[in-house]
Amino acid sequence: MYGLGLLKGLIVTMKNLISPGRMFTIHQYPDRKISPLGLSKLEGKNVISWGINNPVKFLKSLLGLISVPDKIAQSPRFRGQEFTWYEQRCTGCASCAKYCPLGIIKIVTSPSGKAVPEGQKYAIDVFDIDIGRCMFCGLCVEACPYDALHMGSGFEEGTYQRKDLVINVDRLKSAPKKPSTWFRPQLEELGYDPDSGDEITWDQIGRHERPSLSDQEDKWVKR
């Protein structure tokens, strides 16, 4: 019948208005307003007893004046802006710089003068990643043969000036070590989740495969 479709539409929108189970398109970041119900649940108490004990808080949250920090669940593989880099693992081979499609990684090395355990022959003087131009494709991470460079898990790198967006070697060294598990199956096997806030040290993120010499020959020389 003509006109029925219009009514059906009205019912659908009304259903979305009144049913509380409908998911919101919006996530509130970094904090969200909270109702007395949510607040008491957060403190693990019954609304009524909680309301009687904290009348001021109850009233404030009823008026929508209380907000609590909110965080959206983030996948461990999330490719974030803050690169995680382990100077202990980096040899300065610059594979990452070479494979970056945009060429935004700048590496300058000099002989370190140290005794030479693996990867300590060169000191990294400059390691600039211009994340103002980075597209977070993660190819640099994929290219790194020593698992020294990882995608970070954070995304709060907003600055006022473009030049502050260049991550230099000091910042890389001092940044919290929360690598994303993107392209690092060994981290996934460990069950590591950067979202939990745990840091992970350089010796825990061992290589997922250590090919034998014959394997390597198969793979690279004969081709």
């Binding site: 996948s75 499609p101 494709c137 993660g138 993107w182």
Partner: protein, 367 residues
């Protein structure tokens, strides 16, 4: 008595709420009626094809993300298939399944967005759009679990995918598969039977089968004009020949049929994903392909059925690490080729709706 009228020329775009990007349309109106249209492209030209000539084969994957940014997975798939065909790489079974799942999820996401914006162009105050985005958001969440990004995914590599899907992905996929049909039903009861939508879209912007074949249209645009052409069926790639699905066909080739074809395709995509989840088996997900590929000299054209139509890559290799030429056959651009046939003679409001039904993304049109 007839009143003397004078045609008015209006620049629709490049900044306009309904041109879906920086698309400029010089329209001549007689009153409300369109008498001439003159599309102007190129505001978003980023030289993707030229950039590809200076990138290695793996690096180009990141460029394809930015062609049609609402269906990056399909672009990835089209490109890596071209490279694989060029180098004759055998792709592991599990990788093929993963790719098909990802591409079909992307098809749903893309069609959701197309539908939402189409109804929004008809003037619904963003409600269907928001419902569509709510559902699309869930698919993007899945992509985040799968490959760490939501829009520019770069999930696929020549020779497979870069990494296997984590366990959380399968759980969330199951939940999505259960709820998605309900959401699509809800969307349909909001839009499909709505008389205003019918009045605005039925018999509007009609393209006959002959016209659309001659205009080399593809995808839902072509199928709405009752042409049974889907590369997944006619030239099965990946594992599509093992799957059981239907290709929805429209009748009249009007705006409403394009909408309906998209809705039905979403349901078919869900069916495909369900079968893939059942059939997928353990195994490697990436063939043993070196990071720097040097394909043998030669050229190849390979195309897939992207959400918007036939997306093809023509690669010419001169044995170096980057292609000598990379030509992209983008469905959005081809689908716009019949603008004049569709638009002339309709009212201004119809113009907006027809543009919405074409479902083009400027990143792909200008490349």
């Amino acid at each position: 008595m007839s009143i003397r009228t004078e045609p008015v020329t209006i620049n629709l775009g490049p900044q306009h709420p309904s041109t879906h990007g920086v698309f400029r349309l010089r329209v001549t109106f007689d009153g409300e009626t369109v008498v001439d249209v003159d599309p102007v492209f190129g505001y978003m030209h980023r030289g993707t094809e030229k950039l590809a000539e200076t990138r290695s084969y793996v690096q180009i994957v990141t460029l394809t993300d930015r062609l049609d940014w609402v269906s990056s997975m399909s672009n990835n798939l089209a490109y890596v298939r071209a490279v694989e065909a060029l180098c004759e790489i055998e792709v592991p079974q599990r990788a093929q399944f993963l790719r098909v799942i990802a591409a079909e999820l992307q098809r749903i996401a893309s069609h959701l967005m197309a539908t939402g914006f189409l109804v929004n162009d008809m003037g619904a105050f963003a409600t269907p759009l928001m419902y569509c985005f709510r559902e699309r958001e869930r698919i993007l969440d899945l992509f985040e679990i799968l490959c760490g990004a939501r829009i520019t995914l770069s999930y696929m590599r020549p020779g497979g995918v870069f990494q296997d899907a984590p366990k959380a992905f399968w759980d969330n996929l199951d939940a999505l598969m259960k709820e998605m049909p309900i959401y699509i039903d809800e969307l349909e009861s909001l839009v499909t039977t709505n008389e205003i939508v019918l009045a605005r879209s039925k018999n509007v912007g009609v393209l006959t089968a002959e016209q659309s074949i001659n205009g080399s249209l593809s995808g839902p645009m072509l199928r709405a004009s009752s042409v049974d052409w889907d590369i997944r069926k006619s030239n099965p790639y990946e594992i599509y020949d093992k799957l059981n699905f239907e290709v929805p066909i429209g009748k009249n080739g009007d705006v409403f049929d394009r909408y309906l074809v998209r809705i039905k395709e979403m349901r078919e995509s869900l069916k495909i994903i369900g079968q893939c989840v059942d059939m997928i088996s353990e195994g490697p997900v990436r063939a043993d392909v070196p990071y720097n590929i040097r394909p043998p000299a030669g050229d190849i054209y390979s195309s897939i059925e992207a959400p918007k139509g036939e997306l093809g890559f023509y690669l010419v290799s001169d044995q170096s690490i980057s292609p000598y030429r990379c030509k992209i056959r983008s469905p959005s651009f081809m689908n716009l080729s019949l603008l004049r046939e569709m638009l002339v003679g309709w009212k201004m409001s119809d113009l907006i709706v027809i543009l919405g039904s074409v479902d083009f993304v400027m990143g792909e049109v200008d490349r």
